[in-house]
Amino acid sequence: MNGLRRALRSGTEAAGRRLRGGEPGVLPVVVGVLVIWSVFQILNGNFLAPRNLSNLSVDIVGAGMIAVGVVFVLLIGEIDLSVGSVSGLAAALFAVLNVQHGMAEWLAVVIAVLSGAAVGSLHGFLIARVGAPAFVVTLAGLLGWNGLMLYVLGAGGTVNLDEDSLIGKLTGHYFHEVAAAYGLAAAGSVLCFLVYYRDRRRRRAAGMSHRPLAEIAVRTGAVALVAFSAAHVLNRFQGLPLALLAFLLVVGGLDLVLRRTRYGRKVYALGGGGEPARRAGIDVVRVRVSVFMLSGTMAAVGGLFLASRITSVSQTSGSSLLLMNVIAAAVIGGTSLFGGRGTTWSALLGMLVIQSIASGMSLLGIQSAVQFMITGGVLLAAVVIDTVARRTRREHGRA
């Protein structure tokens, strides 16, 4: 018990130290989610109902997938303003090929995703090889790819999708078995424990500082608490949504790529300034192009999930409101606009904040005008935190 208390105390102290040193981590956004949920629950008792939270978990997936790509772009210190339009274009391509031309569904999905990758590569080539500013290239993309989407959709403008098709199931399918959600929660908790524990064992064997067992217990406990609560809530509605499972796998998988592979290390290194990375022998152009390609690919994937959610593609798909939301999500979730810091989990957490506000507002029957203002305010707050944290780091750093 004593060890536990010590671990908790050292944990809070470490968090406080990081905060003062300008490394806020995920703490502000987690507190933000809790505050938002509490406020809406007080205003409307249905907010924390299983049905609403389950819908929330599916609603974050489409834009969240796009935001994961944006995180990569922000990490290398660039911006991609075209992701909204690219997501709309991919969805339109899928809908027209599949529904109007009768192409096999899987083939249409592949083509839609590849088109996102191709568009992203083109942006990356113009930015990294030719040297055009990302802001302008992707701004042109924002307009141009939206135009192409309208052209592809043609005169009709709206294509309805089949709810029972593969694409419909992306967001419509739930694993009703209680074991699915609990199993995922258990797997996540065990994985978390094993990663910490094996790291501790190897570090101890090498005679290096390592986490005390009590701290590992606290951290694993926290993950398990969140995971099993979520599983419990989801099981009280329809079970584990397929879309949420896919999103968690993508976020977790790309987190592994970013933090534990050479490629991910290169991405972070680029965020610390291109020149040091180049002198370390990194092929800077190739990494930049690949990041924009990933951004385009994730935009296309997100576009398919968004289309699945409303089972249609229309002229309003891939709006600039979507673009604002995904960039806001990445920043609110803790990815820095200045490059070099952030994780894929910020896409999930940031999207959770934005979607919670949207969901709460619509429950309360508040019009979207107010919703825009509040989301704008939250984005502003996130940017201010990011900027102040950066300044604090500088003051603490090279004094």
Binding site: R262, Y268, A269, R279, A280, G281
Partner: protein
């Protein structure tokens, strides 16, 4: 047949627009030799280092590595030859930690994933063997002091067991004790057969460790000196561009070419 030098530069030329930064520069560095590169501000010392390191390749000229002509057009081509560099601006990634910077571009892997534990262990051992103290190996280098950053940059150059070390004012941010420890280290590397090119403004340091001095003046060779025989005045007058007094052991680039 004599052993060819580790690195030999011939007729290196580098222009930045209308400015000729390097003109017809020659330089030889042998294995197990410390060559000091001296010159006034703007003489082209750092430019020459960047040429050798593949960061900013020469417009003209020949680079020979152990006698064979090589292309060093990009940093990783220099790394592949075994050339490691401590740049004047250090070129560290501020947002990465000490371990991340040391192994950047040559990370260790285990089952396909980065082996952070092994990289941290080697970092600790390397810094320990250099008697360098950095309080937290997982601190981002932006949070370190100037001297600590410089020691990180120096240790990074030693990670891959280099064969040629380019040191561009490596002791600028170091204290007296750290500097003397660093010079001991450079001598130890020389004795192990590493070739070293050392840029420094400090004549005392150079007299202490260097075997030869190469002087650049306005982007051109302005003399090669043997540290054991040349006087400080001769070297300084060569740096400032004042013609050396007659009878000095100065050998111009032109005379060297005549020898062959």
């Amino acid at each position: 047949m004599p052993v060819p030098p580790l690195l030999a530069l011939r007729g290196i030329r580098k222009r930045f627009g209308a400015v000729e930064a390097l003109a017809d520069v020659e330089l030889e560095i042998r294995a197990g030799e410390i060559v000091a590169l001296m010159g006034d501000n703007g003489a082209g010392k750092s430019t020459l280092v960047k040429v050798i390191a593949g960061v900013s390749p020469a417009d003209e000229g020949v680079v020979r590595w152990e006698g064979r002509t090589v292309r060093v057009r990009r940093p990783h081509e220099a790394h592949a030859l075994g050339i490691a560099t401590v740049f004047q601006d250090l070129a560290l990634c501020d947002n990465l930690d000490v371990v991340g910077n040391l192994f950047l571009g040559r990370e260790l892997r285990r089952a396909g994933l980065l082996d952070e534990v092994e990289m941290e262990r080697r970092t600790r051992d390397l810094l320990g063997s250099l008697a360098i103290h950095v309080p937290d190996l997982r601190a981002r280098v932006a949070t370190l002091s100037g001297g600590q950053r410089q020691t990180v940059a120096i240790s990074r150059s030693l990670v891959g067991e280099p064969r040629l070390l380019l040191l561009d004012e490596p002791t600028a941010a170091l204290g007296v004790q750290q500097t003397s420890r660093f010079l001991d280290l450079v001598e130890m590397l020389r004795d192990r057969g590493v070739g070293v090119l050392l840029i420094s403004q400090n004549m005392g340091d150079i007299k202490a460790v260097a075997d030869r001095v190469a002087v650049l003046h306005l982007g051109r060779n302005n003399g090669f000196f043997d540290v054991s025989t040349a006087s400080q005045e001769q070297i300084i007058s060569s740096i400032t561009g004042v013609t050396s007094p007659p009878g000095a052991t100065r050998r111009t680039a032109h005379a060297r070419r005549g020898e062959r």
